[in-house]
């Protein structure tokens, strides 16, 4: 079957062991995570995992069923890139002298819509939010000037369609 990028969104309770439980579901099926991020969601004390995988539609459906089966998981969804708004965040640490000596580097920063987060005598840090190819392009463009460090966050994403977690929580309440 055709492999695609899917964004899995998981709404959960705040339980210390849950990360382990969710990652075990992928491990057992030999599925590599492209990226993973977690934070509190729009509802206080409800957490949201955003997991990106490359797999086929059939497998992602089964994985989401297994995730949703976990007691502390409120609801899990999967979406294609077209169904979500997503971004990644990247930080680039560059030697300061290149900023002053190489005029070109200022043009790169400007044209890529990156921002300078901090500048010190030894180094400066650039931040760029965007799609993978955008943060990747900036990395390639900066590489000739000596990248001291580079780091990219996991994908964060919101869906175009409604999630309705509060409604789901209410239904659970009424069913129980």
């Amino acid at each position: 079957m055709k492999k695609n990028t899917f964004t899995i969104s998981v709404y959960t309770e705040n339980n210390i062991g849950l990360l382990n439980r969710i990652s075990a579901i992928f491990l057992k099926r030999h599925i590599n995570l492209e990226s993973f991020s977690t934070s509190e969601s729009e509802i206080q004390n409800v957490f949201r995992f955003v997991i990106v995988v490359k797999t086929d539609a059939e497998r992602v459906r089964k994985i989401v069923q297994q995730i949703e089966k976990q007691v502390d998981v409120i609801k899990a969804f999967y979406h294609t890139d077209e169904e979500t708004i997503f971004q990644e965040n990247a930080l680039y640490k560059v030697k300061s002298n290149s900023l002053f000596e190489e005029r070109q580097i200022q043009n790169i920063i400007k044209s890529s819509h990156a921002t300078i987060v901090t500048v010190s005598p030894e180094f400066f840090v650039i931040e760029k939010t965007g799609f993978r190819d955008e943060t990747e392009k900036l990395r390639k463009d900066l590489a000739p000037y000596g990248l001291l460090q580079f780091v990219r966050s996991g994908r964060i994403s919101v869906t175009k369609a409604k999630m309705g977690i509060s409604e789901i929580l209410n239904t659970f309440k009424n069913n129980n």
């Binding site: 382990n20 075990a24 069923q65 297994q66 949703e68 089966k69 409120i74 659970f172 309440k173």
Partner: protein
């Protein structure tokens, strides 16, 4: 979440008690109706054992000889009683020894709660003596687990543990309690858990799907029901019986569905799967409608999925949404407790008869009977067969014993030939295939159904994996009957070696000890049968015993179990020899 009732503990005064975490654990177990726990003490769980000593008139502790035995005993107890089984162990090796039983309970949906001691919270992560990350280890094989580091968490977490273990699709829960939390004194009060907001154990039946299912059922010309343990776990035996009787649809069982209806029920067409019966396996690929009830299309049932029931419409009655469309794509899913969905179907299905279709079963049954069953049950050769041994147990138990089996040839033969007259009578390790399961599980099965005869049927290989539980049987006088069908081989593996590895018997021959002497060493009555003429009286004597009893039946060494669907082959490729 429903209403929660506070339980008064100190009548007339307040509703809280100032007690230690350890005492709270015992009180929580009592509040959950547990009066029996299986376990093994050790350093990190000593405060709880100290409380068990004080509460011994209310909460009976069964000392198994290995922690694995405690989990299997808890499983056996759960399977015959329908209640939650409880196992206790200390940290480190005590906890890791539970894992096989937990994994077995997970795959066979058995409700158990395991409580492990853990090193004090200040030592967590320091590689302290007998510290192990049992939460990490048990995560993939538990329905839920949790580590308690404060006594105040004990009541709510244990309440949650029992609720999760028994509700929805049941399963094992592990609670790890640090030693300092066991010592810590706090104000105790208990509220039963009646709901968890992120957990919806009983999905609502879709009316639309129900209508679709009814159309398919009422139109079918060659329908087949395959039922599993869901019927037993959902206490839906009566609804199921009405369903097959009213619809007239022939029904076959998976290994864990066995005993949900009496074996001699006219709609019962035998077992599906690798060593199941000829007719239901072959006709799976001929039926026009397959109605799967409380079963999960395990590979041992389906064989090659690409050649499984492709011609049929499929209706799946299943409680766990994750099981639907997992292995087999279904046409209609009735996601709900099957007690509910069967009840709804029963109101609306037509009364049916399928004489031509059932004649197909009868014709194939005859072939299997002539080629396999006669030779198994009424052999003409000298050596004893496993089949005739099971038949003798049927005879002397009036088809009414709880049959506990281990894993291997004896298990397949026992499940094929044992006869049952009531539900919750078949206790076996189905999904995980755990050798060593039967002996400790039989202890729990007997304690879960003390008025019933419990016969453990075990091979010589699996018996020796947990043979030390003879000590538990003697100490607690669990009146189980133990039958070892001894062929001095790991018979099932040997059978595969014979059929698929050109008879290269790599490490399957067993040089066995004198099992009768060993049983007698444990002060259990014991006998050995070698000849057919002695089998009848030996089984009769065993069944008549009021005490634990061991019987070794020396059977033919190289008999095979047939029918057989070779691993990975289609159900249509079932072989009779």
């Amino acid at each position: 979440m429903g209403t929660k009732t506070k339980i008064k503990l100190n009548q007339g005064q307040s509703d809280t008690l100032n007690i230690s975490g350890a005492e709270a654990v015992v009180r929580c177990l009592l509040e959950e109706g547990a009066d029996l726990v299986y376990g093994y003490p050790g350093g990190a769980i000593m405060p709880i054992y100290d409380e068990l000593f004080k509460f011994q008139d209310k909460l009976h502790h069964v000392l198994t000889r290995h922690e694995q035995g405690a989990t299997h005993a808890a499983q056996g107890f759960a399977r015959t009683s329908g209640k939650v089984g409880v196992a206790l162990a200390t940290s480190g090796p005590g906890a890791t020894n539970l894992v096989t039983g937990i994994a077995d309970a997970q795959i066979d949906s058995t409700p158990i709660v395991c409580i492990t001691g853990q090193v004090s919270s200040n030592l967590l992560g320091s590689d302290a003596f007998q510290e192990t990350d049992i939460i990490g280890i048990s995560t993939p094989v538990t329905k839920w687990n949790y580590q308690i580091t404060k006594a105040s968490e004990i009541p709510s977490i244990i309440a949650k543990a029992f609720y999760i273990a028994r509700s929805g699709r049941p399963g094992p829960v592990l609670i790890d309690i640090t030693k300092d939390a066991q010592f810590e004194v706090f104000d105790f009060s208990y509220e039963k858990c009646t709901g968890i907001r992120s957990y919806s154990p009983y999905p609502k039946l879709s009316k639309k799907n129900l209508e679709e299912a009814l159309v398919l059922i009422n139109q079918a010309k060659k329908p087949l029901v395959v039922w599993g343990q869901g019927v037993i776990l959902g206490n839906a035996e009566e609804e199921f019986k009405v369903f097959i009787e009213k619809s007239g649809i022939p029904a076959a069982w998976t290994i864990l569905g066995l005993s949900a209806i009496p074996t001699d029920h006219p709609s019962n067409r035998g077992m599906v799967g690798m060593h199941g019966n000829y007719a239901p396996n072959l006709l799976t690929n001929e039926c026009d409608l397959l109605i799967a009830i409380g079963m999960r299309f395990d590979d041992r049932v389906t064989g090659d999925l690409t050649k499984y029931a492709k011609q049929a419409k499929i209706i799946h009655l299943e409680l766990d949404p994750a099981e639907v469309n997992k292995n087999v794509k279904v046409d209609v899913a009735l996601i709900s407790d099957c007690k509910v969905s069967l009840e709804e179907l029963n109101k609306r299905i037509s009364v049916g008869t399928y004489p031509n279709w059932i004649a197909r079963f009868e014709a194939l049954d005859k072939i299997e009977n002539d080629k396999v069953i006669q030779c198994d049950l009424f052999p003409t050769k000298d050596g004893l067969t496993m089949g005739e041994s099971i038949e003798m147990i049927n005879k002397h138990s009036n088809n009414d014993a709880v049959i506990v089996t281990d894993v291997g040839q004896h298990q397949m033969v026992a499940c094929r030939y044992a006869k049952f007259s009531q539900s919750k009578s078949n206790v076996t390790s189905g999904g995980l295939g755990t050798m060593g399961f039967a002996l400790p599980a039989a202890i729990g099965a007997k304690m879960g159904a003390p008025k019933r005869e419990v016969v453990a049927i075990i091979g010589d290989g699996g018996y020796q994996m947990t043979i030390q539980e003879l000590g538990t049987i003697f100490q607690h006088q669990a009146a189980v009957k133990i039958v070892v069908l001894n062929n001095d081989f790991l018979g099932m593996v040997r059978q595969w070696q014979q059929l698929f590895f050109d008879k290269r018997y790599a490490s399957t021959e067993m040089v066995n000890p004198d099992f009768v002497t060993i049983a007698k060493g444990y002060r259990i009555k014991a006998k050995r049968v070698v000849n057919r003429k002695n089998l009848d009286i030996a089984v009769k004597e065993m069944m008549a015993s009021k005490e634990p009893y061991f019987l070794e039946v020396c059977v033919e060494k190289e008999d095979n179990v047939f029918p057989m669907i070779p691993s990975g082959a289609s159900v249509s490729d079932i072989r009779l020899e």
